[in-house]
Amino acid sequence: MHLPEIDKYAHLDSPLHRWDGRVKVACIAALLLAVVLAPTYPLALAGLALAVAMVALSRIPATFIFLHVRWVLLFCLFLLVVLPLTGGGELLWRLGPAGVSRAGLSKAGLISLRALAAVLLIFPMMGTARFHVTLKALRRLRVPSVVVQILAFSYRYIFVLFDELHRMLSAARARGHGRARRLRMFRNVGSMLGMLLVRSLNRTTRVYQAMLSRGFRGEMKTLDDFHLRPTDLVKGVLVAGAAVLLFTAGALA
């Protein structure tokens, strides 16, 4: 178990770190969309190249990235194995009763390229500013206030609940449940999560009281520090331009 720390490298300095959060999120999201829509290998490769370039520009260490994309890599690996074996159509190689389908392999490859490019773009988008700053940028991009509020609170309490769960798990291990029989383990994990849930939901009343007692009347207000400079727009034009190019090329293909 480890904590989400996508903004672990938000303190670094790079053109992406210095980029205004609103423009950054909007433009990279546009690029992500264009990448996901890429219909051919050359375009998907171009998208991947752009994503890799932006990750490199962000200076976020490669080991960190690798650790974080493992879910997507696993998913791609799964497709790369299963799709060719079940794809049908023309076979590249025969393997006993089954075979490696050309269409299946090609489709799995294309999907993997797009998936990888998309997930890599999350790092320059989310990893180059503190998460709460990005949330404020989302608010300024007209994401509804209640959505941003819920995301901000959830983010805050992830850390609290994580610590609580961690304490419960270590306590359970200390009592020797660690090596108990499997069924028993599931029961213990179940009660522990039940306990975590009870505590969390009981906390909600107190959190709401704490909000009310500081004058909350249904609308959350925050201050932010976004200033648009010419360089922000130049970067925006570059990235959004790449997105539009990629998208148009895809639509024509």
Partner: protein, 241 residues
């Protein structure tokens, strides 16, 4: 002497039927520091929640001459700053700055004023260095102090704290006691840390099973072994000799 808090025959029953307060009456003068003591479940926290109208029982309750009823809760909440027992309940925003600015922003103050108040409140609790930090990266003692700042930034007339010293190590406990001693605000401290109450308060109200069983000078009540033991409390360590 002008009364800043006036409570008369306040009773409260939780929806599940627990009678948490019974006919509580209490008057607090401006500038007083009062310790609200009693065993667990005595009703201390329940009483504090009434000061902000977060719970509303039967009886009369006034803060700064304003009656705590539905129409005027916004005003009352500006007057009484409530510090909850668990800092993780009170610090719900992602960063210290956002948490301390939450109250002032709800007061519709202009940005420079909000920033000034945040800075001042944090420096009063010696936490200015953490203004940009995330609450979850602070120690328990630091979070406790930030909680005090989140209400100081609203310039309240009354500070009400629920168990300010529980779960603190001796050094941080000392720190928060010293901090509270400096303030000249009217202060209510609900606690079963009788040593802290003895250090901080001039007057003590002893609550048990939702009733006020004693009300008087701290020196008198907190040295009365028989009274304290009758209500499952022990003499403060400094008085055990």
């Amino acid at each position: 002497m002008s009364e800043i808090i006036f409570i008369e025959n306040l009773s409260y029953t939780y929806p599940d039927g627990t009678e948490a307060l019974r006919e509580v009456s209490l008057a607090v003068a401006e500038g007083e520091r009062i310790g609200l003591v009693g065993p667990n479940g005595a009703g201390k926290s329940t009483l504090l929640l009434h000061l902000n109208g977060l719970l509303q029982g039967e009886g009369r309750i006034e803060v700064c001459g304003i009656s705590v009823t539905d129409g005027r809760l916004d005003e009352v909440r500006l007057k009484v700053g409530l510090v909850f027992q668990d800092p993780d309940d009170q610090l719900f925003m992602p960063t210290v700055f956002d948490d301390v600015a939450f109250g002032p922003l709800n007061m519709d103050l202009a940005r420079p004023e909000v920033e000034r108040r945040v800075e001042q409140a944090l420096s009063e609790v010696d936490m200015l260095y953490a203004v940009e930090r995330c609450s979850h990266h602070l120690s328990f003692g630091e979070r406790k102090r930030v909680c005090v700042a989140t209400v100081l930034s609203m310039s309240p007339q009354v500070l009400a704290l629920d168990e300010p010293t529980t779960n603190l190590d001796p050094r941080h406990r000392r720190q928060i006691i010293e901090l509270l001693r400096q303030f000249e605000l009217t202060t209510l401290v609900a606690s079963h840390d009788l040593d802290a109450v003895l250090d901080l308060c001039d007057r003590v109200v002893l609550l048990d099973a939702g009733e006020v069983v004693a009300d008087g000078p701290a020196d008198g009540i907190l040295t009365d072994r028989a009274l304290l033991e009758a209500h499952s409390l022990e003499l403060p360590l400094s008085r055990q000799s």
